[in-house]
C-alpha cells in the first residue's frame, strides 16, 4: 500500500487475531430431547406389549407369557370369531368410508365455493357431531332405531359410522379446497373446458390428496370405533366389540395378531406416503 494513497482512503483496521469462541452447552440443550425420547418410549410401550404377546404360546387367555410361537400368526382364523369380527370391521369401515367421503367432499366444495342460505346453521350441524361425546351419539342412534323398530345389525352400524365420519371428512377436504387457487379453474374454463371437464381434469386431481387423507382418517375412525358400534350392533360383532366382550373371559392371541398386523400395515402406508412425497419434493427441487 502506498503512502500517498493513505490520505484519501479509509483503511480497514489491521487484522487482529480472534479467540476461538465456544458457548457452554446449557441444560436446555439436552433436556428437551431427553424428555421427548422418554415420552416416545412411554407412548410405544402398549404397542410393543401387544406385538410381543401376539407371539405368546397362550391358552384361552393371553396374559401370562408361556413361550414363543408363530402359531397365532399362521393360524389367525383358528379363532373363527376373531376372523369374522375382523371381516365385519373391514366391511363396515370400507362402506362407511365410501359414503362419508363422497357426501363429505360434496359438502366441502359447496362450503368453500358457493353462497347459500342457512350457512351458519349448516356449519353448526357439521360441527356438533364432533363436539358430541360418542356415548351420546350412540344412545341417540340406538333410541332412534328402537323407536323406529329397526333391527340392529351391519346396516345400522354402517349408518352410524357414516354419520360420525362425515364431519371429519368435511373438515379435512375443506382445508384442501380452501388452499386451491380458484384461478386454476378459471384457467381451465378459459382454455375451453366445460364445467364437467374442468371438475374432473383440474379440480378433482388437485383435491385428491385431501380426499385420500379424509378417506384414510374416516376408515381409521370407523375401524377403531367401539362405543357407537356397541350400542347399535345387535348380535353382529366388529373387531373392537369382540375384544370388549372377550375381555372378561380372556382374549385370544389372534386378536393381538390382527391388531399388530393392522398397525404394521397402517404405519407402512404412512411411511411409504412420506417417503414418496419426500423423494418427489427432492426431484422437484423443493427442499
Amino acid at each position: 500500500m502506498s503512502a500517498t494513497s493513505a490520505a484519501t482512503r479509509t483503511e480497514l483496521p489491521a487484522a487482529r487475531e480472534g479467540k476461538p469462541f465456544k458457548r457452554r452447552i446449557g441444560l436446555g440443550t439436552w433436556l428437551l430431547p431427553a424428555y421427548v425420547t422418554i415420552a416416545f418410549v412411554f407412548l410405544l410401550i402398549p404397542i410393543v406389549y401387544t406385538f410381543i404377546f401376539s407371539f405368546n404360546d397362550s391358552l384361552k387367555s393371553n396374559i401370562v407369557w408361556r413361550g414363543f410361537t408363530f402359531d397365532n400368526w399362521l393360524g389367525i382364523c383358528n379363532q373363527v370369531e376373531v376372523c369374522i369380527a375382523f371381516g365385519n370391521s373391514l366391511l363396515v369401515g370400507g362402506t362407511a368410508t365410501l359414503i362419508a367421503t363422497t357426501l363429505g367432499t360434496m359438502i366441502a366444495i359447496a362450503l368453500v365455493r358457493y353462497r347459500f342460505r342457512f350457512r351458519s346453521g349448516i356449519s353448526l350441524l357439521l360441527f356438533l357431531p364432533m363436539a358430541t361425546p360418542e356415548v351420546v351419539l350412540a344412545a341417540g342412534l340406538a333410541a332412534e332405531f328402537l323407536t323406529a323398530g329397526v333391527q340392529k345389525g351391519l346396516i345400522t352400524i354402517i349408518l352410524a359410522h357414516t354419520m360420525f365420519c362425515l364431519s371429519f371428512v368435511v373438515v379435512t377436504v375443506k382445508a384442501r379446497v380452501t388452499t386451491l387457487d380458484p384461478a386454476l379453474e378459471e384457467a381451465g374454463r378459459d382454455l375451453y373446458g366445460s364445467p364437467t371437464q374442468v371438475f374432473w381434469r383440474v379440480t378433482f386431481p388437485l383435491l385428491l390428496p385431501g380426499i385420500v387423507a379424509a378417506a384414510m382418517l374416516s376408515f381409521a375412525l370407523s375401524f377403531d370405533d367401539f362405543i357407537i358400534t356397541y350400542f347399535n350392533a345387535g348380535i353382529v360383532q366388529t373387531f373392537p366389540t369382540y375384544v370388549y366382550i372377550s375381555a372378561a373371559r380372556g382374549i385370544p392371541a389372534q386378536a393381538n395378531v390382527i391388531a399388530s398386523a393392522v398397525f404394521i400395515f397402517a404405519i407402512a402406508i404412512v411411511l411409504i406416503a412420506q417417503i414418496t412425497n419426500a423423494s418427489r419434493r427432492k426431484r422437484l427441487g423443493l427442499n
Binding site: F40, Y49, I63, R113, L126, V135, G140, P182
Partner: protein, 303 residues
C-alpha cells in the same frame, strides 16, 4: 387434518362465492343424512328421556310422556358419576397438555431443519391410534397389574404400599384417559407451533425477554389456537368415555363415569329414559363448557 377441526386459522383470500343451484345439489344428500342420523336421534333422545314406563307393561317398555322427574332422579342417583366424569376428564386434559406441549414444541420448532425426522416423529405420535384402542388399554392393564414387574418393583422399593393396587383406582383411570388422548392433544398443538414464526422469538430475545419470558409471552399465546383445539379434542371424548373406567379395563367398582351408567342403563337394565336423560345432561354440560371456554380463550368461529 381433522385435528385442526377446532382451530381458527385465518381465512385465506378467496374468490367471491357464487350462488348456484349446484350448491343445493352438493349439500342436500350430506345434510339430509346428518339431519336423519344426527339431529333426529338427538330429538329421539330428548323424547326418550321424558318417557314413562308402560303401566303394568313388560320390562323395558316405555311410552311417550313428559316425565321431567326422570332428570331429577338421574341427577340424584348418579350425581357422583357425573362429577367424577368431569373431574377425571379435566385431570386427564391437564396431564395430556403438560405431557404433549414439549413434544409438539420439539417436533414443530426444534426439528424444522429436518423435515424427515419431523414426519417420522409425527408418525410415532399417532402410532398408538393404529393399535386398537381397547387392546392398548388392556395392554396397560396387564403392564400395571398387581403381579406385573412394575408394581412388584415399586413395592420392593417401598415406593408403593404392599397392599396397594394401581389398576382399579381413579389414578389408573385418569392415567388411561391421559394416555389414550395424547395424540389428540399433541397434533393440534404441533400444527400451531409448526406455523410459529421463530423470528418473533428472536425479536423477543432482542427485546430483553429471558427464555422463560419469551415462552410464556410469545410462544404460548401464539399457539393458543392449537391448545384450544387440543383441549377440546381431549376433554370431550374423555368426559364421555367409559372404556378406561370400566372394571374390565383400568377402572374398578368406585370409578364408574357417566358413560358407564349410560351403558348399563341402556344395554343392561333397559332403562332407556334414564340413559337418555343422562346423555342429554352430559351433552348440555359439555356444550356449555365448550362455549364458555372458547369465548374465554378468544378463538371463536369454529369449523
Amino acid at each position: 387434518m381433522a385435528f385442526t377441526a377446532f382451530s381458527t386459522g385465518t381465512a385465506k383470500e378467496q374468490a367471491p362465492r357464487r350462488k348456484s343451484k349446484i350448491a343445493l345439489l352438493l349439500l342436500l344428500p350430506g345434510i339430509l343424512y346428518l339431519l336423519l342420523f344426527f339431529l333426529v336421534p338427538l330429538v329421539a333422545l330428548i323424547a326418550t328421556s321424558l318417557q314413562e314406563p308402560v303401566p303394568f307393561g313388560d320390562f323395558g317398555q316405555y311410552q311417550t310422556a313428559f316425565r321431567w322427574q326422570n332428570y331429577v332422579e338421574v341427577i340424584t342417583t348418579y350425581g357422583d358419576q357425573i362429577i367424577r366424569s368431569f373431574t377425571y376428564a379435566l385431570l386427564a386434559t391437564i396431564f395430556a397438555l403438560l405431557f404433549s406441549y414439549p413434544i409438539a414444541y420439539f417436533i414443530g420448532v426444534k426439528c424444522r431443519q429436518w423435515p424427515l425426522l419431523q414426519n417420522l416423529l409425527l408418525v410415532l405420535v399417532i402410532a398408538p391410534f393404529f393399535i386398537s384402542f381397547l387392546l392398548r388399554t388392556l395392554a396397560w392393564k396387564s403392564i400395571l397389574a398387581d403381579e406385573s414387574f412394575i408394581v412388584t418393583g415399586l413395592k420392593a422399593l417401598s415406593l408403593m404400599a404392599p397392599d396397594a393396587h394401581f389398576t382399579g383406582t381413579p389414578a389408573a383411570v385418569v392415567f388411561g384417559l391421559t394416555y389414550n388422548f395424547i395424540p389428540f392433544m399433541t397434533l393440534p398443538i404441533y400444527a400451531a407451533l409448526e406455523r410459529l414464526d421463530t423470528r418473533l422469538l428472536e425479536a423477543g430475545r432482542d427485546l430483553y425477554a429471558k427464555p422463560a419470558t419469551s415462552f410464556f409471552k410469545i410462544t404460548v399465546p401464539l399457539s393458543m389456537a392449537g391448545i384450544v383445539s387440543g383441549v377440546l379434542l381431549t376433554f370431550i371424548p374423555a368426559a364421555g368415555d367409559y372404556i378406561n373406567a370400566s372394571s374390565r379395563f383400568l377402572g374398578g367398582s368406585s370409578t364408574s363415569m357417566i358413560g358407564n351408567v349410560i351403558e348399563s342403563n341402556f344395554l343392561v337394565s333397559l332403562n332407556y329414559p334414564a340413559a337418555a336423560a343422562l346423555s342429554i345432561i352430559l351433552m348440555s354440560i359439555i356444550l356449555v363448557l365448550v362455549t364458555a371456554y372458547v369465548k374465554r380463550s378468544g378463538t371463536e368461529d369454529l369449523l
